[in-house]
């Protein structure tokens, strides 16, 4: 499982966002350059239509691959009590011809993205990752050198905390909070002082309003 909060930030504020966590979290930032391929099952394959993501980490000397399955987010009365998205997520490292295998198994490429930016990874009750990245699409298949930004001038902020069904409460906010308070709570979770003057929108709340 994972708890997720996503937002967007103007590119001009990214530098400020980058410096503060590095100083206060005690971890070095890592470069992020990931080619993400989303595959969907062909019609009639499977009990239900399915989707799987292949992530290729291009920042390594030799690209490494991960398969990721993201499930639906938690729903119901419990989900209404918390202000972050909680969903099932399983991933597995795979060798480089996983894409060819999934094609043979009846999956086709639905879309692909290139995410470039940076990330922080650390442990506070759970493994937490904060990433800031620009997301680009590819006009031609697998053309990672010819990408076009999906949201020019804006980058995606992604905060995830891996969790189990038993401990996800430690990673979530228990009260319904406004977006700014939500971010303060998250940043407190990250041991950051929220004095940055950045524009940070929380998509989950925007979707509700």
């Amino acid at each position: 499982m994972e708890c997720v909060v996503q937002g967007i930030i103007e590119t001009q504020h990214v530098e400020a966002l980058e410096i503060l966590p590095q100083g206060l979290c005690g971890v070095q930032r890592e470069r992020l350059r990931v080619h993400e391929l989303t595959l969907k099952s062909l019609p009639n394959l499977g009990v239900v239509p399915s989707e799987v993501r292949l992530l290729c980490d291009l920042d390594q000397p030799e690209p490494t691959w991960t398969v990721k399955h993201v499930g639906g987010s938690m729903r119901g009365a419990g989900a209404d009590q918390i202000s972050v998205m909680v969903r099932t997520m399983i991933q597995s490292k795979v060798s480089k011809n996983a894409l060819r295998m999934f094609y043979s198994l009846g999956y086709k490429l639905d879309h692909e993205l290139l995410k470039v930016g940076f990330a922080f990874h650390f442990q506070r009750n759970a493994h937490i990752s904060v990433s800031v990245s620009s997301v680009s699409k590819m006009p031609k298949i697998h053309a990672i050198d010819e990408t076009v930004p999906v949201t020019p001038g804006m980058q995606i902020v992604n905060v995830t905390a891996s969790a189990t069904p038993e401990n996800y409460g430690l990673c979530t906010c228990r009260n319904r909070l406004n977006p700014w308070e939500l971010c303060r709570q998250l940043l407190r979770l990250l041991h950051l002082l929220c004095r940055m003057e950045v524009v940070l929108h929380c998509k989950k709340f925007e979707a509700k309003s």
Binding site: S41, N44, H69, Q91, S92, V94, N97, R100, L105, G106
Partner: protein, 223 residues
């Protein structure tokens, strides 16, 4: 990683495979100074696609009929997929099995255990084991792993392996068994595998061995 050959027992025409052969092979290993080290076990799953509309003819032939996965005792945190007809082998974390369950697009239709004893013979490690369907004692076949510990290069290890297998055949022939262990020559390059031995080579060998076994070995009525 040491080079490994995976052989299978091919009974003579009219014979079946049985536990007696496994026992004889184990005794043979001990007779050539093999030191018993303990048990070993591997599990192999054959997968079939799940179709929402079984009556639909929409692309069923394009989906593989020989998609299998195997877990190996030396690498318990990993899982290996092989699609033999497409010459595909993939190594993944063991959690890939949970992902496959979540996708609900393929289901394990047959699961087989390989289990038996392993022996240490100088620079070699030998594993002899039976092949049985899960939840059954009916023996489906017998496999043997021969591992040459000092070398990782398949080409460099070839001569030594051939000599060992010849010695093994000679020792086993004195027991008047109705069959022999067979090594299937493989072109690992077709699977994108190099000369340096890896667990993926083992996965491919098991996939090929099973294909041969299914084609040529009659299952025993009772193991």
């Amino acid at each position: 990683m040491p080079v490994k050959w995976v052989l299978y027992w091919q009974p003579n025409q009219g014979s079946t495979v049985s536990t007696q052969i496994l026992n004889e092979a184990a005794q043979c290993a001990e007779s050539i100074s093999g030191v018993k080290e303990g048990r070993w076990k591997a599990t192999l799953n054959y997968y079939k696609p799940l179709l929402r509309d079984q009556s639909s003819t929409h692309h069923p032939d394009s989906l593989p009929r020989d998609f299998l996965g195997i877990s190996l005792p030396d690498h318990p945190a990993k899982y290996y997929f092989i699609i033999r007809s497409q010459r595909i082998v993939v190594e993944a974390d063991a959690s890939i099995q949970i992902i496959m369950e979540k996708l609900q697009s393929y289901k394990s239709k047959v699961s087989l255990h390989f289990d038996g004893f392993q022996y240490h013979l100088g620079d070699f490690r030998l594993r002899v084991g039976r092949v049985v369907p899960v939840h059954s004692e009916s023996i489906r076949g017998i496999v043997m792993e021969v591992e040459y510990l000092p070398i990782s290069s398949m080409e460099k290890a070839r001569k030594v392996m051939e000599e060992f297998v010849e010695i093994w055949h000679e020792a086993l022939s004195k027991r008047s068994l109705s069959g022999k262990f067979v090594n299937v020559e493989l072109n690992f390059g077709e699977f994108g595998l190099a000369d340096n031995y890896t667990p993926q080579h083992t996965g491919v060998q098991y996939a090929i061995v099973m294909a041969h076994m299914i084609a040529t070995v009659q299952p025993a009525v009772r193991g």
